[in-house]
Symmetry: C2
Subunit: 421 residues, 2 copies
Amino acid sequence: MTGFTRDDLIHKARLAKASSVTLRRYREEDRQRAILSIRDALAANQQDILVANARDVAAARENELSAAMIDRLTLTEARLRGLGEALKEIAASPSVLGQIEHEHTRADGLLVQKKRIALGVIGVIFESRPNVLIDCAALAIKSGNAILLKGGSDAEHSNAILGHLVQDAIASFLPRDAVQIIPGGDRQMTVEMVKLVGLLDLVIPRGGEGLIRMIHEHAKVPVIAHAKGLCHLYLHADADFDKARAIALNAKVQRPSVCNAMETLLIHQQLDDGYVLDLLQALEEAGVRLRVDERVWGLGPKPGWEQAVDEDWDTEYLDKILSVRVVASEDEAIDHILKHGSHHTEAIISNDPSVIQKFEDAIDASCIAVNASTRFNDGGELGLGAEIGISTTKLHAYGPMGAKELTTTRFVVQGTGHCRV
Amino acid sequence: MTGFTRDDLIHKARLAKASSVTLRRYREEDRQRAILSIRDALAANQQDILVANARDVAAARENELSAAMIDRLTLTEARLRGLGEALKEIAASPSVLGQIEHEHTRADGLLVQKKRIALGVIGVIFESRPNVLIDCAALAIKSGNAILLKGGSDAEHSNAILGHLVQDAIASFLPRDAVQIIPGGDRQMTVEMVKLVGLLDLVIPRGGEGLIRMIHEHAKVPVIAHAKGLCHLYLHADADFDKARAIALNAKVQRPSVCNAMETLLIHQQLDDGYVLDLLQALEEAGVRLRVDERVWGLGPKPGWEQAVDEDWDTEYLDKILSVRVVASEDEAIDHILKHGSHHTEAIISNDPSVIQKFEDAIDASCIAVNASTRFNDGGELGLGAEIGISTTKLHAYGPMGAKELTTTRFVVQGTGHCRV
């Protein structure tokens, strides 16, 4: 155990809160320099970071973590270079602070402005991947927020060295206290953290369903999270064969372990049987195991197919497994998604504008992909630079959250002695 | 008791949820017609509304409610006309739905759009004033949302007739189920309502601190509320005497019972004693009772003054009572506001741009008023049309919330077979 107590947590949160007020006085140039200075620190301390990370990886092997978990935990020279590039992009991206989002002068001369400001103090609770610490710290700095970062115990040594590097790196340009590292490994401390009303303005959990559920149960501060990504691809009756195949493969196979990968394929019954079998074979050849409904089963069954059971339609496999269902109409596809979708990403392949519009109107998801892969629902792909998370709830932000989503707007009115009539 | 059960509540919430999907297919014209039709219904049924309201007012008198409460409860011909005018304005205001907030085409030809959509189903829990029902129903309709409206038992008869009128009025243009009335008088039903995860996308409580606290304690769905409005006016050393006096009087006296009225006056010690005494006298002549700190006391004391105690600085009087403190510097004023403010509205009178900027940077409030009255922090005054509430938390909305604040944005990407590389 770390010996880190609730009092330590509150102390760190208070330091962050105090620095969040000071942060408002700094300029974009200071924030840019601080972010670039983290980049320099990563480059200058690469060896030490890799050594610390190797200790975490060795412990993970001893604890028999899965290969996927160990992969997520592992830092390499290439991954650190990638982080450095992301930091450069975040620093160079347009400022999200101080803009006047709206302005008008009333007939009586009162100037009404709506100005963009930082939220204050953000808490991020993350599992496994230590690079999340760097991304989130940089986005918080970019948006003028202080941040509390609580990683998982698996990445204890990696997070400790990265945390110190970030704090030292920013200290020449911004208050060092703006970034606070909370040790991992203590779930009770997560519970205490999400109760810090008045100290944290927002908590963003990044992790599995268990973590999210626990946080929703205890949180007294605002939380933005995505519970899961159960994404569908619907092939309409008029779907172009080649496009549909390419997109289905991309959505399922390119990176099966992420939240914007496809988990269920819905196929209109009018699509040619031979084509459907060809598509399913292509998926199997790419290593995908199929769980099919009765109508698909009727087309084969082929060796390797399994019959889907009820739970399959609600399962986020995060693996090379796909449930496949034939639907009688776009309405049946929409109903299926409304029942089983997770408000993350839903895709349609069709050339019929009225069907596409109907799908868009009916489906409640943070991203609708039309004749495109579900994999595009990502802050980097959609032009936000890095992302601090993907929200599957509609309040404040819906979809990928970049620096701008860590800000809010408020009114400033300026008069010359104006009174209300 | 009403005999209204938790099952009834869930049934109504499900009807609202189902209609929120249907609502996406309607046009702005339908929404406008529905809102104007409520206006017509109020005019055509004025007598019945006033009779129902008179029953509530009579019961309130019997129950010995305060004069202020009875005033808030009472509907008059003039108030109904005012409501009709507000409905006309809401109907005529620009559409908040369907706008493309952002659009770019990637180098690979993928079109990325961020589109504005309704939140889904809103719950509003309100006390006393029955006209809130009409304002909120109209704003929900304008923004394409379904709404559950739960008023207080004091306005039982008024809310019942208004609810039916609204449902009947919109039924020719929109799904009748989009507006659901939940009977008041049962606090447990409020608790159940804020737990309807998956059915309600947002709950907005409008009421006293007790209601807000109870809702925050039990809520499982997102809540936007303002706990209280403890607004300060700070007179800097260079404050113009006449402007300061006019604004102080306006902020305190024009409508003392509302959340954007001033509760504490902070005065820089360099301001002329004679002027300060003159200002305090003007406030007293307007019926304001003063609770003053030691330094003000030293200027008098005058008959009628009371010495402020610690609780005064944290008290939202909502009445003609004012606490007054002399501060040694703008820093002391800022520290006082950071400690006692409620993130609602904070005002400064000064002509020094650097002091004004320092105040704006340091103060965390939904509206900063510079040389203007606190009373301007109001949706109508700031150009939103009607408001559904004022948020004193920063997530999603900070300050007055109009129809636009009942919407969110999401990504729609359109490709021609685009896959992620």
